[in-house]
Point group: C3
Chain length 209, copies 3
């Protein structure tokens, strides 16, 4: 149990960091100032969790009271500004960590909603919102259509992870911890495969027939 | 009373469906992917209600726990993708159902805020937010200035409906059910007349005199 | 004590009014209609406070139940439409009042979060959100990247004000009232100096070295 917590803790560190880096680099590319870069880094790493906490009644949202997100956003901002070439060279691990964050946030988001007594549907939706909400806010602040609505298997991978958590909770075939690890693994694998093989969801031409 | 509930239920079905269709078609026209189309359909049909529920403390928001909105968004997505020509031919009934949804959401939104013990001002504002919040979120996600802020008698019709509910609740001249039906009818009529005769609220040139 | 309340009340009037005017003029310049101008005026003057209240569990948010914000938004809308040249001539006092609003909202936002029992980090973040949240929503609705993320010492001044309130609350060297006045003064002074001398936070070229 303790080992599992340590394992989760490390995943959370990696995921939050990757989310903050993705926010900071996008903000820098959009020529935001020092404060703007920090805000976007912070938003990506805890915006989804804040929306989830507001919806389940976990007041105040953990993202606002935990110094850890704040510190991660500061580190990501400094790295994006001072060590941009290094950050670019780290592109590959950051994408990997981002997939870690996506999986972990989807799974823990769904778990938190269930632990607050909400139903399976809310848990699935809030798992996805936890995982992708920060990135959606980033895109809204940067004035662009959220990338997850346009292409890539990203939110769909989070949906898979959250669904498995909720199914596991209903069926109770396996322990919650085991189901969570299965959900994490499948979500992560789907995301990495989608990146590797450039899988996208279909879009639909609007030409009239 | 039961008849009234059935009547409301049918209006709610029609309105939610029209809202979801408006979201799905706008998302498809903006070349979002399958997931994006579903998210926008879902957002339009229950985004306003989710904001209302968060503001009045109805946790978790009904939009996240009710399978019905989810199913409607899926149906709307499938229709927008597979039967786009049919959906376009249905343009006229969809606009009609949209006015039904606008009226019903404004009235039931104001009623729900009152039933949670909030004051008349909050009820009016939350009635309007219930009715138009989803459409505003759709436009924000699609990167455009919310259409309701630019032209048309749309939010103003919702404002009228919500106002009548709140006035009725203070004056108590008539039963709540009767006032709700009057509010529904007037909001719907105003919206349809505005569509029919192309009524718009004024905008104001910014040229200096 | 009563004098302090009167003093705060006058600052709140001036600040809310300046925020509403900034919203109404921006909305008018973007050719929104009558309803849109009023919505943006209302959003700027109480959007930040509504987000704060949702995050600290102050339900319903004060911005929705207090006729005062509504009335201010209506006055600002009428002024922006009917007396635009006058409003333009008032540009200098409005910028001054805006700095008053910024300072007051940062200080009272942080105080309210503390009074609801939340920790220092949440109080600082929510002080800043109270002060700048409305302006960020205005920019999101108008389809532009929030100005506070791009340049100017604006949110940073709010951060200073909120930080002083929270530090004062921990250290307890001085009375809360005195610390609040110091926080107000320093936040206001920093904002005015930044305006006067065109201070900006740095941005960072994204050219690769």
């Amino acid at each position: 149990m303790d080992k599992l917590h340590t394992f989760y803790y490390i995943l959370d560190l990696l995921g939050t960091f990757a989310f903050a880096i993705s926010g900071a680099t996008a903000a820098k590319q959009n020529k935001l100032d020092l404060f703007g870069i920090w805000v976007i880094a912070f938003t990506v790493s805890c915006g989804g969790g804040i929306i989830r906490d507001i919806c389940i009644g976990a007041i105040p949202p953990a993202g606002l009271t935990n110094w850890y997100y704040l510190a991660t956003a500061i580190v990501a901002t400094v790295l994006a500004i001072r060590l941009y070439p290094t950050v670019e060279r780290l592109n590959r691990p950051v994408i990997l960590f981002d997939a870690v964050g996506l999986s972990l946030f989807a799974v823990t988001g769904a778990q938190k909603a269930l632990s607050f007594g909400h139903n399976g549907e809310a848990a699935v939706l809030l798992g996805v919102i936890t995982a992708v909400g920060g990135g959606v806010l980033r895109d809204v602040f940067l004035g662009r259509v959220p990338i997850i609505l346009q292409k890539e298997i990203y939110a769909s991978a989070a949906l898979l992870g959250a669904l498995i958590v909720v199914l596991g909770n209903y069926l109770k075939w396996l322990s919650g911890d085991l189901m969570a690890i299965i959900a994490l693994t499948l979500c992560f694998t789907l995301r990495i495969l989608a990146l590797r093989y450039h899988w996208n969801l279909p879009t639909f031409s609007t030409d009239k027939p």
